[in-house]
């Protein structure tokens, strides 16, 4: 893209992009650490994960403030406006990813004393890996402004939804086997829901990137290639 005639305008957009990249890094690490803490019963790691959240909140505010200031000063149009609106939307998705990862870390701390069926976290870990990969891919797509790669993330979310279905069935089985598992498995069910929501935020970001790059929205309905929903 050709530079703006006003150089400071480019610098402002670049600074917003850097903050989004930083937020992406924090959110990604929070998810990976929370899942690691959950499956390895690591309380200190879970606590460190919680401590990252305020940073993400602060960065989101900074992105919003910088975006609003740039809109007020430059009256951006076309690609520049999409860039700024995209940054606001992405920052809010990443902030939510952080909240959901934080919630997983909190639940990890709660259930560690009560970890009755360690094998119950296996499917969940698989889901977490997939969500982390989706998040990484979508952040790479954001950095490269790559609409095709973003669209691939958007399509792949169906896999997380399918896994959630399978994790749900597993947890029900464990609960039926022994009612003393119910508290533990219910926490894990919430964790699986959190991961599924993180996947949704990754697809939101993918949609934002597609719009930002092409100016066109992806369809409202994703192609349903897999049996995905638990109703």
């Amino acid at each position: 893209m050709t530079d703006h005639t006003v150089k400071s305008y480019d610098k402002e957009l670049e600074a917003i992009g850097l903050k989004i990249a930083e937020m992406g890094g924090v959110a990604e690490k929070m998810l990976v650490d929370a899942m690691e803490a959950l499956s390895t019963l690591n309380i200190p790691l879970a606590e460190r994960t919680l401590a990252h959240d305020p940073k993400l909140d602060r960065l989101q505010r900074e992105v919003e403030e910088a975006a609003i200031l740039t809109i007020a000063k430059r009256q951006p149009v076309a690609g520049d406006l999409r860039e700024i609106v995209g940054a606001i939307r992405t920052a809010s998705d990443l902030e939510r990813v952080g909240d959901l990862a934080k919630n997983i870390a909190k639940r990890a701390i709660k259930i560690i004393k009560d970890a009755r069926v360690p094998r119950a976290t296996i499917g969940l870990k698989h889901m977490g890996d997939l969500a982390a990969m989706q998040l990484k891919d979508v952040l790479d797509a954001y950095a490269a402004r790559d609409a095709a790669r973003a669209k691939a993330v958007w399509v792949r979310d169906a896999e997380i939804d399918a896994l959630e279905d399978s994790v749900f069935r597993d947890q029900l089985t464990f609960m039926m086997e022994d009612p003393r598992n119910i508290t533990y498995c219910t926490h894990l069910l919430f964790c699986s829901k959190n991961i599924e929501r993180i996947g949704d935020h990754a697809t939101n970001i993918a949609e934002t990137i597609h719009y930002l790059v092409t100016g066109e929205n992806l369809p409202i309905e994703r192609p349903k290639t897999l049996e995905t929903t638990v109703k």
């Binding site: 703006h4 005639t5 149009v77 406006l81 790059v213």
Partner: protein, 275 residues
């Protein structure tokens, strides 16, 4: 896709201009219009359809030909000896360069507002009454009074000047003078109003009043506005045409031009990346 690859999907270079057909009846139609000032080819093979009762904005860097084309529409370029126009411009399907056409009659149907307010050094009343008088649109004093009042009302100026109609038009503020010029333009009941940067000499409040007026006038008139303010084009117009180096590069609904322009030159211009 990288940023470069993304912008490469915009048509680059000297492709055919981007057009999308307007809805509704066409008021002005230009086909293969060329304008030369001596050897200089100022407008090149321009095609455009301008819909009735709407606002069309012409944007582009200085010297791109937008004002030149605007002045073709009321044949103001006729007054420049070295200027030559080829191609066809029709208003209501009538060729305005037809030699049998009465240019004075044509201009009576096309009002024009300029960059600098240029009221006649006469009273406010006479500024508005002059056109209808010379075109014989009114015979009696009361008919002229009615035209003066309704034109000043349409221009949003009546309440501010009704008690001092005999004062000189040049004594008004810049924004009021410009609205007086608009009242003068609409006093002869034109179909088309051409505006060449009508707000560039006005403060933001006067600009807002003129923009509000443009919005009201569009239900009865076909308005073409040349502006250097991108925000103004985005605010007041339904369609926008981008000119560059004498070529109409891209033309379409204003919301498309300012959100997802198809041509890279349009994108670079509206986002401030030109030159």
């Amino acid at each position: 896709m990288t940023m470069e690859a993304a912008t490469a999907t915009l048509t680059a270079g000297n492709d055919r201009p981007v057009h999308s057909a307007p809805q509704g009846p066409i008021k002005i139609q230009a086909r293969d219009v060329n304008v030369y000032y001596g050897d200089k080819h100022a407008i090149k093979h321009l095609d455009v359809d301008i819909p009735q009762h709407s606002v069309m904005a012409f944007i582009g860097p200085s010297g791109c030909g937008k004002s030149t084309f605007l002045r073709c529409i009321n044949r103001m370029n006729d007054t420049i000896p070295i200027c030559r126009v080829t191609g066809k411009i029709e208003i209501d399907r009538r060729d305005i360069y037809d030699p049998s056409l009465d240019v004075v009659q044509l201009r009576a149907h096309i009002g024009m507002v300029f960059q600098k307010p240029n009221p006649f050094p006469k009273s406010i009343y006479d500024n508005v009454a002059y056109g209808p008088k010379i075109h014989g649109l009114a015979r009696t004093k009361s008919e002229i009074d009615a035209i003066v009042e309704s034109s000043l009302r349409k221009a949003g100026l009546w309440e501010e000047v009704k008690d001092r109609l005999a004062e000189s038009g040049t004594g008004l503020s810049g924004g009021q003078q410009q609205r007086l010029c608009i009242a003068r333009a609409i006093a002869v009941s034109p179909d088309v109003i051409l505006m060449d940067e009508p707000c560039s000499a006005l403060d933001p409040i006067a600009t807002a009043k003129v923009e509000e007026l443009i919005d009201e006038l569009k239900s009865n008139y076909t308005i073409i506005i040349v502006t250097h303010s991108m925000q103004q084009a985005a605010r007041v117009s339904q369609r926008t045409a981008f000119f560059h180096l004498g070529t109409l590069v891209e033309e379409g609904p204003t919301d498309v031009i300012f959100s997802t322009p198809k041509d890279k030159r349009t994108n670079d211009y509206i986002t401030g990346r030109f030159g």
